[in-house]
Amino acid sequence: MTLTRRSAPRPEAAEHTTRLRPGVLAVSLAVLLAAVVFSLLAGSGELGWQRVLGEIWAQLTGGLSPLSEREAAIVWELRMPRVLLAGLVGAALAGAGAAFQGVFRNPLAEPYLLGAAAGAGMAATMVVVFAPAVTTWVVGPLPAAAFAGALLGVGLSWVLGRSAGGSGTAGLLLAGVAVTAFLTAVQTFVQQLNTDTIKQVYTWTLGGLNISGWTDVLVALPYIALAAVVLVAAARLLDVLTLGDAEAASLGLRPGRIRLVLLAAASLATAAAVSVSGLIGFVGIVVPHLVRLLAGASYRVIVPLSLVGGAVFLVLADVVARTIMPGELPLGVVTAFAGAPFFALVLRTNRERLS
């Protein structure tokens, strides 16, 4: 197989950075698997990793598990969905971040740029204030509202941006700023009238996975998977967009249409992530940059590796969040606290590439 592939010369094969090499992808997936297993073994309590390993082995071989029913429930009902959800959310945010940076041709772009966070925050606040005790739904009102709110925010920005600035990115960007400010104002106003709920809203805003179960995984998975497929498939178009709208148009593409599809997919992933985990910052902006610095500047490399890298990053961050203190640390705090210095280090060691 390798022989035939080598024998067929391809024009872009010479330039490593435009195509994702299978070896790199395999290594990154192996790292992800290692992170997931490590996270599954790591806990803050007396349930030792050797015994969890014994349980996993027993599940694989059908042997006798060293764990009690309750301990098995901890591993499979609490830890496993949490680990998987961390991976899903990390992948969604980092993948969406990469898409946003590509679409806006702006290194500071992030998934929350177009009002997804503000919309979700506003909707979550509304639920906490006006429908706090509704627990009979399958999903729970808060995730559902956050999901709808995030999409509402982005949708508003899109409509406003189109009406103001046509198909360009500048109008959309400014519309995002306006929508974010407006929705945040609504949230603050509602919150101010109901100060007794501030703590609940605040806890949600910090982001975390501490009440997640299999339901959350199953709810978030379809959206994030669909968005991931679209983003990976459209990564080549992102590369074209970086050349500029005129270039893209001369290649027979319609930049406005491409942006709509990419932003819709990225926002869907973001909304799904926000709905199950609250607002977790930093992943969406930093992971794509790390990938770009370490693996290459083509979006055909950045998008898939950001998906995997974001998953690894958040799975490991969540291990810190749930084990390092006697209690729980907000996941958003961990991602920023651990991610920022690491990011600075990578920037420093790659100075020549940036300049």
Binding site: G43, S44, G45, E46, L47, E69, R70, E71, A73, I74, E77, L78, R79, P81, P132, A133, V134, T135, Q192, T195, D196, T197, I198, K199, Q200, T203, G208, N210, I211, G213, W214, T215, R322, M325, P326, G327, E328
Partner: protein, 320 residues
Amino acid sequence: MFPWSRPTPSHRSRVSRLVLVLPLLAVLALAGCAQREDTSEAGAGGQAGFPVELRPEGAPEVTLEDKPERIVSLVPSVTETLYEVGAGDQVVAVDEMSTHPRQAPRAELSGLDPDPQAIAGHNPDLVIVNADAEGTLADALDKTGVPTLVLPAPTTLEAAYDQFALVGKATGHADEGERLADRVESEITELAENTPDRKLSYYHEVDPSYYTVTSATFLGEIYQLFGLRNIADQGDPNAMGGYPQLTAEKIVEADPDLVFLADTKCCGQNAKTVAERPGWDTMTAVKQDRVFALDDDLASRWSPRLVEFVRSISNAVAKA
């Protein structure tokens, strides 16, 4: 502008009650004067027992020259205490979270973010708040000549009893305050003594994201009266300020004998929702029906209704 100019039903009844009680207050005041031979201020505003010096725990000293007749309370717990010591008729406004007793004159006032202008609009002669960082509210109200009494949440039961007595003293009901403190203390002590100590462990849920209390808190002290062991202590009850957020994993692993839910009203939690949480059905407390729904308000206040909270714990322990 005047509060009198738009009489709401509750307002009217308050006024009428005040009118009814005025003669009584006058008699009490006169009687007080005679007993204490305090004639120096018996003229315009001087009254029995006043001026009083108040030394609340963990807050600045306050001296009240006269008996307050227009109290604004921005602390739900203190609102309850005010009515219990018999100062309810001196209360003109309470914050929006002072839900008990029902007749308390709730106004659009925030206790978390007190607005001096809104407070001054009620023309108070005493304002009671939970916290006043840097004394900014006290400074602002001081300009209108209104004293501010800061009554922080007590950290011990003893401090809570002291606060009952202090509220009585501040409002001209010193004896009632002392009696209330004694009564609550003896009832709580009695409940604790009459409940068997079974060396059980417990988890007290503050909200559904698993915020809880350790035994180094006010609530933790109450649970300790029953010899209950807190699963959140983990060697250091003072970690995370006494209010850590646990992981679901930690709670299920600790497998407490008793689960107390203080998030029933705020967040709709009950024994059924707890049993439906992933993995929780394996817990002893869930299997043996030892998940107890508490009243959120009772479990977060330090009013005389503490007795009711303590009673619900006593019942739970007795049932287990």
